[in-house]
C-alpha cells in the first residue's frame, strides 16, 4: 500500500510540474479554435534537424502563409521546435505539440512528418514538407491522395534533369560519385533512382554509404579519387558536412554538383534543382488553404514541378570549367559572393 501511495505521489508531482508549465499554451489554442482568417490561429512547426535546407523550408512556409494573409505576430502564432536530429525528441515534440491542440501542425522532414501524423491522430491537420517520398512514408496513397488528415509537399530530386545537365557540363565524364547516409530513407531511394537512370546518359554511379558524420572525411577522399565528378543529394548528414566533401573534391580536382540552390551557394558548381524557400512557400499556401476550411484529406500532396538551373561561376572557373553555351540563357548565378 505504501508503495502505491509513493507512486501516486510521484505521478502527482510530475503532473503538477507539467500542468504548471503547459497551461499557457493550451489556453492560447482554445481561443484560436474557430479558424476564420480574421481570427488568430496557432500553428506548430516541428523541424527534424537544424540544417540550411530545412531552415529555408520553415522560412518559406512562413512566407507562403503570409502571402495568404496569415502574418506572424498579427493573426498567426508559431510554436517552432527542433528535434536536433534526435528521434526520441522528435516523437516527444510531436506529442507535446498535439497535446497543445494547435490549429495545424507542420512537420519538416520525413521522420518528423511521420511522428506528427502519428501524434495528431487525425484530430489536427498535419502539413509536411521536405518529404522525398510521401508514398513510401505512408503519408500518401499510390495515386497521390492523402491517407488521412495530412498532406504536404515532396522535395523529390529531379534526377533525370540533373543527369542531363551533368552530361552537358562534362561531355567526357564516365563515373559520378554519390556520398550518402545509409540511415536516410530519402537518400537511399535517390541513389536507386540515379542508378536506374544513369545508363540513359552513359554514366556509371559509384555510391559510398556512410553511417555518421565522422565517416565523411575518409569516405569523401576515397570517393573523389575514384570518379570524374560528384553529385550531391539532399542527405541531411552529408549536407551538414558539405565543406568536407567540397574540400576532398577540390584536392582531387573534380567538380561537385549540388541538388539545391543553397549547396551551389556554398561551392557546388551547378544544380538542376530545388529551391527550398519556394518549396516552403508552396507548403505554406497549402497550410493556409487548410486553415481556411479545406480538408487536408482532400488535397493531394504536391511536388515542385519547376526546377531551375543554378550555377556558381567562381567554383566553375576554379576547376577550369565553364557553363555550356546552350545552358547560359537559363542559368542563374548563385555564388555566395553576390
Amino acid at each position: 500500500m505504501k508503495k502505491f501511495t509513493a507512486l501516486i505521489t510521484a505521478s502527482m508531482l510530475a503532473l503538477t510540474m507539467l500542468s504548471g508549465c503547459g497551461s499557457d499554451s493550451t489556453a492560447d489554442s482554445a481561443s484560436g479554435e474557430a479558424s476564420a482568417p480574421a481570427e488568430s490561429v496557432n500553428v506548430a512547426i516541428a523541424q527534424f534537424a537544424p540544417h540550411g535546407s530545412l531552415d529555408n523550408c520553415v522560412e518559406g512556409f512562413k512566407l507562403g502563409m503570409e502571402e495568404a494573409g496569415y502574418v506572424e505576430g498579427e493573426n498567426v502564432t508559431y510554436d517552432l521546435q527542433n528535434a536536433q536530429a534526435d528521434m526520441a525528441n522528435a516523437n516527444q515534440i510531436a506529442q507535446s505539440m498535439a497535446a497543445a491542440k494547435p490549429d495545424l501542425i507542420c512537420g519538416v522532414a520525413t521522420p518528423m512528418a511521420q511522428a506528427c501524423y502519428n501524434a495528431a491522430n487525425g484530430e489536427i491537420p498535419v502539413i509536411y514538407t521536405a518529404v522525398t517520398d510521401p508514398v513510401a512514408a505512408e503519408l500518401a496513397n499510390e495515386d497521390g491522395s492523402s491517407v488521412g488528415n495530412v498532406t504536404g509537399t515532396s522535395d523529390k530530386l529531379a534526377v533525370d534533369a540533373q543527369l542531363e545537365m551533368i552530361r552537358k557540363f562534362m561531355p567526357d565524364a564516365k563515373k559520378i560519385g554519390i556520398l550518402y547516409t545509409t540511415s536516410e530513407a530519402n537518400s537511399v531511394s535517390a541513389v536507386e533512382e540515379y542508378k536506374e537512370l544513369a545508363p540513359n546518359y552513359d554514366f556509371e554511379i559509384v555510391d559510398s554509404g556512410i553511417s555518421q558524420t565522422s565517416d565523411i572525411p575518409l569516405a569523401a577522399a576515397d570517393l573523389a579519387s575514384k570518379v570524374d565528378c560528384i553529385s550531391n543529394l539532399t542527405d541531411n548528414t552529408v549536407v551538414s558536412s558539405l565543406a568536407t566533401l567540397l574540400d576532398a573534391a577540390e584536392k582531387a580536382g573534380i567538380p561537385v554538383f549540388g541538388s539545391e540552390i543553397e549547396q551551389v551557394e556554398k561551392g557546388c558548381v551547378a544544380t538542376e534543382g530545388l529551391d527550398y524557400i519556394a518549396l516552403g512557400k508552396q507548403t505554406g499556401a497549402m497550410a493556409a488553404r487548410v486553415l481556411a476550411g479545406e480538408k487536408a484529406q482532400d488535397i493531394p500532396y504536391e511536388t515542385i514541378t519547376e526546377y531551375s538551373l543554378y550555377i556558381n561561376s567562381e567554383a566553375l572557373s576554379a576547376l577550369g570549367m565553364s557553363c555550356p553555351d546552350e545552358l547560359k540563357s537559363e542559368a542563374t548565378e548563385a555564388s555566395a559572393a553576390e
Partner: protein, 288 residues
C-alpha cells in the same frame, strides 16, 4: 492532459529499457553501449514482422529474443575474447547497425501506419479510449518489472547481483562469473529490444536512427531513479528506475513546452537533471 499522458507513455516505454540498463550499469557495473543498436533491432524485427502480417503480439517475444542475441554477442566478445567491456559494447553496436539494415532489407524507414499494432488490437481499446496506449504500455512495463523482481530473487539472480558486488564470492561458489555476466547482458539487451518493439508500434514507424542516444536516456533514468528514490527502503530499485524514466521524460516535456528557443531544449533538459540530482543529494545529507 494529453501531454501528461504522452509523458507517461514515453516514460513507461523507456523504463523497459532502463530496467535492462539497470542490470548492466548498476548490477553488473558494465557500461553496455550495444543498447544504442539493440533498441532499433527490436523495432526493426517488429516492423518487418508486422509488414509480413504477423500478429503484433508475437513481435514482442521475437524482439525480446533478437535483443537477447545481441546481448549474447556482446557477452561472448567480452568474456570469451577478453575485449574490454566498453569496447565489446561498441563492437556489437557498430555491427548491429548493418544487421538492422539487413533485417529491413536496406530500408532506413518502415512506416506501419496502416497495419495492426499491439495498441490497435488491444482488447480494452474501446473502453479505454485515450488511455488505451498508456494502459497497454503500463501492463507490459509492469510485467517486465514483476518478472525481473522475481528473477533477481532466484539463485541465478543472486549470482548476477554477486558478480557486480564481489566477483570472488561467485568464483568461491565454484560458479563461472563470465557465464553470469553473459546472462545479465542477454536479459538487459532483450529488455532494450522489447522497448524498441513497443516504441516502434507506438510511433507507428521504424527508423534506423531511432536508437541514437538510447544509452544516455537509459543511464539518466537509472541514475535519477536510484538517486532520488533508491534510498526509500519501501521502494524496490526496479520501481525507482521506472519512476526515474518518467521523470526524465517529464523534464524533456517541460523543456519543450516552456516556450524557450528550440535550440535551448537540451540545455534546459540538462539543467533540470542537475537540479534534481542536487536536490536529492542535499536531502541525503551531501553527495556520496
Amino acid at each position: 492532459m494529453a501531454l501528461v499522458l504522452s509523458v507517461f507513455e514515453q516514460g513507461f516505454i523507456y523504463s523497459i529499457l532502463a530496467l535492462g540498463i539497470y542490470i548492466t550499469y548498476k548490477i553488473l557495473d558494465f557500461p553496455d553501449l550495444s543498447v544504442d543498436s539493440s533498441f532499433p533491432l527490436g523495432a526493426a524485427v517488429s516492423a518487418v514482422m508486422i509488414k509480413a502480417g504477423v500478429n503484433p503480439y508475437i513481435t514482442l517475444p521475437a524482439a525480446f529474443l533478437a535483443g537477447g542475441m545481441a546481448g549474447l554477442a556482446t557477452g561472448i566478445i567480452h568474456v570469451k575474447f577478453k575485449v574490454r567491456d566498453l569496447l565489446s559494447g561498441i563492437i556489437t553496436m557498430t555491427m548491429l547497425y548493418s544487421i538492422n539494415l539487413h533485417i529491413t532489407g536496406g530500408q532506413a524507414n518502415i512506416p506501419i501506419f496502416s497495419d495492426d499494432t499491439i495498441f490497435k488490437l488491444s482488447p480494452i481499446r474501446d473502453k479505454a479510449g485515450a488511455f488505451n496506449t498508456v494502459i497497454v504500455i503500463f501492463v507490459i512495463t509492469l510485467l517486465c518489472k514483476i518478472i525481473m523482481d522475481l528473477y533477481l530473487n532466484t539463485k541465478s539472480g543472486y549470482l548476477l547481483r554477486a558478480v557486480g558486488d564481489n566477483e570472488t564470492v561467485v568464483t568461491s561458489l565454484a560458479k563461472d562469473k563470465g557465464t553470469v555476466k553473459i546472462v545479465g547482458l542477454i536479459i538487459a539487451n532483450a529488455l532494450v529490444a522489447l522497448a524498441g518493439s513497443v516504441m516502434c508500434q507506438q510511433q507507428r514507424f521504424f527508423d534506423i536512427s531511432m536508437g541514437t542516444g538510447t544509452i544516455v536516456i537509459g543511464l539518466a533514468s537509472v541514475i535519477i531513479g536510484t538517486n532520488v528514490f533508491g534510498k526509500l527502503s519501501f521502494l524496490k530499485a526496479t520501481t525507482a528506475v521506472i519512476i526515474g524514466s518518467v521523470i526524465y521524460k517529464a523534464c524533456v516535456a517541460i523543456a519543450i513546452t516552456c516556450g524557450m528557443a528550440a535550440i535551448d531544449m537540451k540545455l534546459i533538459t540538462g539543467a533540470l537533471f542537475l537540479v534534481i540530482l542536487i536536490i536529492s543529494s542535499v536531502k541525503k545529507g551531501g553527495a556520496d
